[in-house]
């Protein structure tokens, strides 16, 4: 009896989820908040920042300063591929961290924002 119900439940699950595709893609490594909070303006050096976060993804030179740019991208994409109709939606957001170094080699400014926690699996492609 239990075995029969198991088959029915399995069949129902297969019927309900057929055509469903769930994909997730990331670029880079997530930025650790505890490492970022250890960066101190006017105190930390470039080598200390590298020891905390690793080498930056990009080094930008601007306004006579060296800027380390770290980033992380997270994307979630559910899809419904039915016999007659396909819905696909993908949401991608990024975290960015910029560490500015002054001429004395010490951290001058830290700019950071985290958007990836807001990435959701949204299937419905219409509306917001």
């Amino acid at each position: 009896m239990f075995k029969r119900y198991s088959y029915i439940v399995l069949l129902a699950m297969l019927l309900v989820t057929q055509g469903c595709v769930v994909t997730r893609g990331t670029l880079g490594e997530p930025l650790k908040e505890e490492s970022i909070t250890q960066i101190k303006k006017g105190v930390s050096t470039a080598s200390e920042v590298v020891a905390l976060l690793g080498a930056p993804e990009r080094v930008v030179r601007g306004n006579d300063r060296e800027i380390f740019h770290y980033y992380y991208y997270d994307g979630k994409s559910p899809a419904l591929l039915l016999l007659v109709l396909n819905f696909v939606r993908m949401e991608i957001k990024s975290d960015n961290l910029y560490v500015f170094f002054g001429r004395n080699g010490l951290v001058e400014e830290v700019l950071y924002s985290k958007r990836t926690p807001n990435v959701e699996f949204k299937l419905w492609p219409f509306g917001d």
Partner: protein, 140 residues
């Protein structure tokens, strides 16, 4: 007089026939920066940390002749298509592909340029595309 179950079935069949071969795709990158989000920025007054506090860290920082330039990027790409050959799958072992599809890639940017002291010098959006409907497969 058509029985209600039959009219309901016909309605479902009509909907299925109308949707046959339709595909709707959408790719959203980052949050939209709307003009209302940047109303607080004043040239000659607002600083880089104040902008970042409101909008978050930019996606890109560039060097310019006068100071830094920050760029916020986002996009809302919509694509849809109809495969008219799909209908053959219901009665033919071979279904030829007869697809009409259209994609609108909207990569938009908001630029803020600063002077050497990190104070906003100028700011603006890239050319803004009109809002397109999600279902627009006619490519001609």
């Amino acid at each position: 007089m058509i029985p209600s179950w039959l009219s309901g079935g016909l309605l479902v069949a009509l909907c299925v026939a109308l949707m046959t071969g339709c595909s709707v795709r959408r790719v959203v990158v980052n949050d939209v920066v709307a003009p209302s989000n940047v109303a607080f920025i004043q040239s000659g007054t607002t600083t880089l940390p104040q902008v970042v506090a409101q909008l978050g860290a930019p996606d890109e920082i560039l060097d310019s002749e006068f100071g830094l330039a920050t760029i916020y990027q986002w996009s809302d790409t919509k694509a849809s298509g109809v495969d008219f050959g799909f209908i053959f799958r219901f009665f033919s072992p071979y279904s030829p592909s007869m697809t009409l599809a259209k994609t609108g890639i909207d990569m938009e940017q908001f630029h803020v340029h600063y002077d050497s002291q990190g104070v906003v010098r100028m700011f603006g959006f890239t050319r803004h595309e009109p809002i397109r409907p999600l279902l627009w497969f006619w490519p001609f």
